[in-house]
């Protein structure tokens, strides 16, 4: 594998600031980014990526390729939690297995954004509708996770299980809502809206992403001590399952005939795990599961793996198979 590819990913400000954040924790610096500053960054990123996606979706139109990609995305977010559940059940109780499975079926918006910055830096195009795929992959995984709990965990306590609440939580949690809302508004206002908003949503985007990754580095490093609880099984899970999912993702992308850029984004969606939306939903609907397990595996193992090694690795493989 081309080492310069890894370097050209690692030697970018966002990734280096992620390391700086981790280093701050390990070196016991008192650097911290207090709430709600990270929340502001994250609102901004979802808003900007959604809006841009909408504007470009309307430019490119809805072709067969688009429909195929979106269906494949939803399919992956259904299949991944099911197969990973059975892997996880070998070591974990059904609650924790289902919660972690849902996490990996869903996606990490920041991983996606980092991959799109990577493409931008190496000067490769990608399509706006990939953001729609991003938005569509959050909810199904949550619902599948809960169905798994319903089937495999004999609930003994009298907690009623409200499906309407579950669906609402899955489809209306703030990330999904803001992302889809911005996408729709981007599509409605098109080029005209873009002209007015792009100095905000486009020009300073990379800078906000960089600061946000500094915070993610701080947060991920603080979670690393939780990994002891997770143990070797979950740590290997957090590296191997993304690679497997990325491989499936690349195969699907090839089948549909996506461009190199879109293929990278698609496989990054498959490979990434949610550490925001799904944990919030799981905390509400499967309180029996241990949050430190599903958050720290996704955040302290899979997220760094994907943004540091995964993105250039998957791209290297794509380069091999694309003409």
């Amino acid at each position: 594998m081309d080492i310069s590819l890894v370097l050209s990913n690692v030697l970018t400000p966002p990734i280096l600031f992620f390391f700086l954040g981790m280093l701050a924790v390990f070196a016991k610096s008192d650097l911290e980014i207090p709430q709600p500053i990270p929340k502001l960054f994250s609102l901004y990123l979802l808003f900007a990526i959604g809006f841009k996606g909408g504007v470009e979706l309307v430019k490119s139109g809805v072709s067969l390729e688009v429909l195929l990609t979106l269906s494949a995305a939803v399919l992956m977010s259904v299949v991944v939690p099911i197969y990973t559940f059975f892997i996880l059940r070998r070591k974990l109780d059904p609650y924790n297995a289902a919660a972690i499975a849902a996490t990996y079926g869903s996606i990490s918006a920041v991983t996606f954004i980092t991959a799109s910055s990577f493409l931008q830096e190496i000067g490769l195009q990608y399509d706006g509708y990939m953001v729609a795929a991003l938005a569509l992959m959050e909810s199904p995984a949550i619902i599948i996770g809960l169905i798994l709990v319903k089937i495999y965990a004999a609930k003994t306590n009298d907690q009623e299980f409200s499906w309407s609440e579950v669906i609402r939580e899955a489809c209306l949690n703030s990330s999904v809502f803001l992302l889809i809302g911005s996408l729709v508004i981007g599509a409605l206002t098109g080029e005209h809206g873009w002209k007015f908003l792009s100095p905000f949503t486009q020009d300073i985007f990379y800078g906000v992403l960089t600061l946000f990754l500094l915070d993610m580095g701080l947060v991920a490093a603080r979670r690393i001590k939780d990994l002891q609880k997770a143990g070797a099984f979950l740590i290997s899970f957090g590296v191997l399952v993304p690679i497997l999912n990325a491989a499936i993702g690349i195969a699907i992308a090839k089948l549909i005939g996506l461009s190199e850029g879109d293929a990278l984004l698609f496989c990054v969606l498959c490979a990434s795990a949610s550490y925001i939306a799904v944990p919030a939903a799981m905390r509400l609907t499967v309180p029996e599961a241990n949050p430190s397990l599903y958050i720290s595996t996704a955040l302290a193992v899979t997220f760094p793996f994907n943004i540091i090694v995964g993105i250039p690795l998957y791209f290297y493989v794509i380069r091999l198979f694309w003409p």
């Binding site: 709430q35 306590n157 703030s174 947060v219 309180p287």
Partner: protein, 104 residues
């Protein structure tokens, strides 16, 4: 100088709406909420460094007449069964201000 019961609840912010509704329902319409508190309990550490604030705690304080204590306790207890959280009672004395400017 009326004696009152002071109730403190610390629970997941996900349960705030339910807790306040229950208090209302049993006749405790007044309370104070301190948000974004963190802590450690049986369920482990609660921090707020993640982006979505779903995971932090709230600290609810309510003062009410002692004879309500049992009903309040009954209604709060089951809520804490789901996500954990704690509830403590203590005694306090109320300093009512004699003259309240009527607002409506």
């Amino acid at each position: 100088m009326t004696p009152v019961t002071r109730m403190e609840i610390i629970a997941s912010s996900a349960e705030l709406a339910k807790i306040l509704a229950s208090l209302d329902q049993v006749g405790v319409p007044s309370y104070t909420v301190v948000r974004n508190v963190v802590g450690k309990g049986q369920q482990g550490q609660v921090t707020d460094d993640l982006v979505m604030s779903m995971l932090d705690n709230v600290y609810v304080i309510a003062f009410f007449p002692p004879d309500l204590t049992q009903r309040v306790t009954e209604v709060v207890r089951p809520i804490l069964n789901k996500f954990g959280g704690i509830c403590y009672l203590s005694d306090a004395t109320e300093i009512r201000s004699t003259l309240r400017v009527a607002s409506t």
